[in-house]
Amino acid sequence: MSSARLDGMMVAEVMERWPVSVGVFNRRRMACPGCVMAPFMTIAEAATSYGLSPEELKADLVEATEGLTAGPGGKEPGW
């Protein structure tokens, strides 16, 4: 998965489509998995909130998801 593709994706979507990414957030001590705001914050915004550079976090995510296909995204909101 490329760094460019991550731009503009919300944290929740990344975690849903690449479950292995949850490990990245845990290792970085970020409370994103399960957070109410995960569907509403981009990767860059989450990184900045924790004092991380967006590039660092994206690099971690690219590495962790190397060679993996994205799962189905687009869970319907609401209901």
């Binding site: 705001m37 914050m41 609401g78």
Partner: protein, 232 residues
């Protein structure tokens, strides 16, 4: 609404998850339509609970008046939510008054009719248990918050609940896409209007929230709000 349209609405409602098409058809045919205009109340606290309702579309606020006349805003409800069922199951009067804050459509089933549907399609009963159980968890959390947590934390948690239910990403942050007054926030958070106003004013100063009284609240610093809700 024809049966096909009703089925389209019903099949996405959590109460009817797991039902196949012929079952959904039976459920749809047994329903009555109950349009509710903005400001109207489908029933009132204290009235006999004779029907189960599902919100097909729209938004409703659920208020409860305490014996000494105070108002508690219990929750907001939207499309897919179940309304009135606990009272019907318990054979008690409706414990709260729902008010439509937008034009709504409700689907209604009589107590007897619904009981029959649950017998025929047990999945409905197990779904109802899950839904009502979720409400209990929510209320337990709120009770614990009210008993042990400071008001800033409770108010932050209240806003997060609304975000979770209906939040929308907008340019300035995360929007709660319906009007909620400071008075309503006070009634949801077991505190006073004064305290809510003071807290929100401080948060506005810090850039955590934005939005004037009558427009929608926008959470400009979502991470900060979560921190406030979770602080020890």
């Amino acid at each position: 609404m024809d049966t096909a349209a009703r089925i389209g609405l019903i099949e996405r409602v959590p109460l009817f998850q797991g039902l196949g098409m012929p079952d959904l058809d039976a459920v749809a045919r047994a329903a009555r339509e109950r349009p509710v205009r903005k400001g109207d109340r489908p029933f009132r606290q204290g009235e006999d609970a004779t029907d189960h309702f599902v919100v097909a579309w729209g938004r409703i606020r659920l208020d409860q008046t305490t014996p000494d006349g105070q108002n508690v805003l219990l929750r907001f409800m939207g499309a897919g939510d179940l309304l009135g069922s606990v009272a019907v199951f318990r054979g008690m009067p409706f414990p709260a008054t729902p008010t439509a804050i937008e034009d709504c459509m409700l689907l209604a089933w009589s107590a007897g009719g619904f009981a029959e549907l649950m017998q025929r399609f047990p999945a409905i009963a197990t779904n109802a248990i899950r839904i009502v159980g979720g409400r209990i968890e929510d209320l337990q959390a709120r009770l614990q918050e009210a008993a042990t947590q400071r008001v800033e934390r409770r108010l932050a948690a209240t806003l997060l609940r609304m975000v979770k239910q209906a939040g929308r990403r907008v340019e300035g942050g995360v929007e709660i896409p319906f009007a909620v007054s400071r008075q309503e926030l006070a009634e949801m958070t077991a505190t006073t209007l004064f305290t809510v106003s003071r807290t929100l004013a401080a948060w506005e100063q810090e850039g955590i929230v934005s939005g004037k009284r009558s427009s929608h609240l926008v959470i400009a610093k979502p991470h900060r709000l979560v921190q406030i809700a979770e602080q020890a």
